[in-house]
């Protein structure tokens, strides 16, 4: 009898642990809402499309160079046959030769390994690298000798440099300021000398890619399928272009439907429309942020000329840079892509139909 009482007491005393170990996990799983990822939504919408634009060109993959597995590349610059990739988390710069596919840690050459702190964007101009990082704008030469550091006090996400070394930069909005400029003009001393355009929306207009021609500044919002073209001299918006895609309208609806559900989980659902932009000769190329590679070619008046696809290539979760070059009669697209979680790949795509090359 005594042992039965002790047994009953022990069972009751142990009940909380039993519930915790057996029941709680199930309850937690039951409460968890599995929200679709942006890529899943895009794939599902793409599967419904049967019609492909008549003016489309199939690209072939020339090469794929996996590198820096587990790391977080954020931008790259092409210089001759080398691509220099800025890695954000570890502050590295990888030098990748696109001919022989050799990968080197260029940042190991830098005078001090502490020289880069969370870089966000990289360019090569006037025989030097220009890198924006957490500390400001850093320049260094091909040997890795640091030439200068100027503090800008602005979190630049993407930039380009004009012939007179004026920097056109998109940066995250400073909360302490009332200005919501889309592009800042920064001189080589790090001083903001002017601003161009305005971020109309706090959410969708926060980040934009920039590309320059001799007379124009072109920007592509990351989270809105719109291109702005500004005159470099007058700094006035001369054209606003809406880039269409069969899934974009449906994507908008998904945003509206899922916004609240994401918010409840403390997340923001802000789909990406563009992943890069590049003016090349008299053409403008836009890399769409889609799981399959898709590039739109426009003339500088904003007329769409054709689209390029690489439908048989691997799916892309995200992109970290985009460039265009001509090699003989071939046009090549260089794309930084994440083909899986933390699996960066530098890929080259091309087509060789010289009648369709266009541009002068």
């Amino acid at each position: 009898m005594k042992s039965k009482i002790i047994f009953t007491l022990l069972v009751f005393a142990s009940l909380p642990a039993f519930m915790f170990l057996s029941g709680c996990e199930t309850v937690r799983q039951g409460e968890q809402i599995t929200l679709p990822t942006e890529t899943q939504i895009k794939i599902s919408l793409l599967q419904k499309i049967t019609k492909v634009s008549n003016n489309s060109v199939q690209l072939s993959e020339v090469s794929a160079i996996p590198f820096a597995i587990g790391e977080y590349p954020i931008d790259f610059v092409l210089h001759e046959n080398d691509v220099f990739v800025a890695e954000n988390n570890k502050g590295k710069i990888y030098q990748i030769n696109i001919e022989n596919k050799e990968v080197n840690d260029f940042s190991a050459n830098l005078e001090s390994r502490k020289n880069l702190s969370f870089p966000t964007s990289i360019r090569y101009f006037n025989d030097k690298f220009w890198v924006f990082d957490n500390e400001g704008l850093k320049t260094f030469d091909k040997e890795g000798r640091k030439l200068n550091l100027v503090k800008v006090f602005s979190s630049v996400t993407h930039f380009e440099i004009s012939q007179n070394e004026t920097i056109y930069a998109n940066s995250l909005t400073n909360k302490s300021q009332s200005s919501r400029a889309l592009i800042y003009k920064i001189n080589k001393h790090g001083e903001i000398t002017g601003s161009i355009g305005k971020k109309e929306s706090k959410e969708t207009d926060e980040e934009a890619y920039i590309s320059l021609t001799e007379n124009l500044i072109v920007s592509a919002f990351r989270n809105r399928p719109v291109i702005h073209i500004y005159d470099k001299g007058s700094e006035i918006l001369v054209k606003e272009l809406n880039i269409s895609h069969p899934i974009f309208a449906e994507l908008e609806k998904s945003v509206a439907n899922l916004k609240e559900a994401y918010k409840k989980e403390g997340k923001i659902f802000l789909p990406r429309y563009f992943a890069g932009i590049k003016t090349f000769r008299d053409r403008l190329f836009i890399l769409l942020s889609l799981p399959h590679l898709e590039i739109v070619e426009l003339d500088l008046q904003g007329n769409e000329l054709q689209r390029y696809y690489a439908k048989n290539a691997e799916m892309n979760l995200d992109y970290f840079g985009f460039d265009v070059r001509s090699v003989g009669e071939q046009r090549q697209f260089i794309v930084g892509t994440m083909t899986g979680i933390n699996t960066p790949n530098l890929k080259l795509f091309s087509y060789s139909d010289k009648n369709k090359l266009g541009g002068t």
Binding site: S14, A17, F153, S154, N174, G190, E191
Partner: protein, 157 residues
């Protein structure tokens, strides 16, 4: 009976496991809270900062003063939030100062003022004072502080 005893032992072990998980998380939370708490005493333990605070207290005995100190490695977003906070306090009529690391060049100071649209006074710190602040920032794993002085009392915001 043997089965019943085995069942009880399993449940007892489960209880012990639960207890250790709960107590580990509680300890972790306590440590986190501890790290976030900042007291004036943390800073005045360093002689250069104690002297500096006494000096600035004396100079501003009859008015409210708020000042910010940042580390040379402060991220842009942190600097932005300190500047935003100071701008808000400036609107309340307080005297505002910002002390910048001794490693900042004249150009950096000028860019700080212009690019962040700052009207309040900026003062570069000397080497010894800079080092004293940054030692504490490193110890506390923070990027800077905002300090208020009101009626002769010093408060870390």
């Amino acid at each position: 009976m043997a089965h019943k005893m085995l069942f009880v032992i399993v449940l007892l072990l489960a209880n012990l496991a639960l207890l250790s998980v709960v107590s580990f998380n509680y300890q972790k939370q306590q440590n986190l809270n501890k790290q976030q708490d900042l007291f004036v005493g943390d800073f005045t333990s360093k002689a250069p900062i104690a002297d500096f605070l006494n000096g600035i207290k004396g100079e501003n005995a009859n008015r409210a003063l708020t000042f910010g100190v940042i580390s040379p490695s402060s991220k842009n977003c942190f600097i932005d939030s300190v500047v935003g906070h100071l701008k808000e306090r400036e609107k309340l009529g307080e005297k505002i100062l910002m002390f910048l690391p001794s490693s900042y060049t004249e150009q950096d100071l000028s860019n700080f003022k212009k690019n962040l649209n700052v009207d309040f006074e900026l003062q570069p710190m000397n080497e010894a004072l800079s080092s004293a602040w940054f030692e504490i920032f490193n110890e506390k794993k923070i990027s800077g502080v905002v300090v208020s002085i009101k009626n002769g009392k010093v408060k870390i915001d």
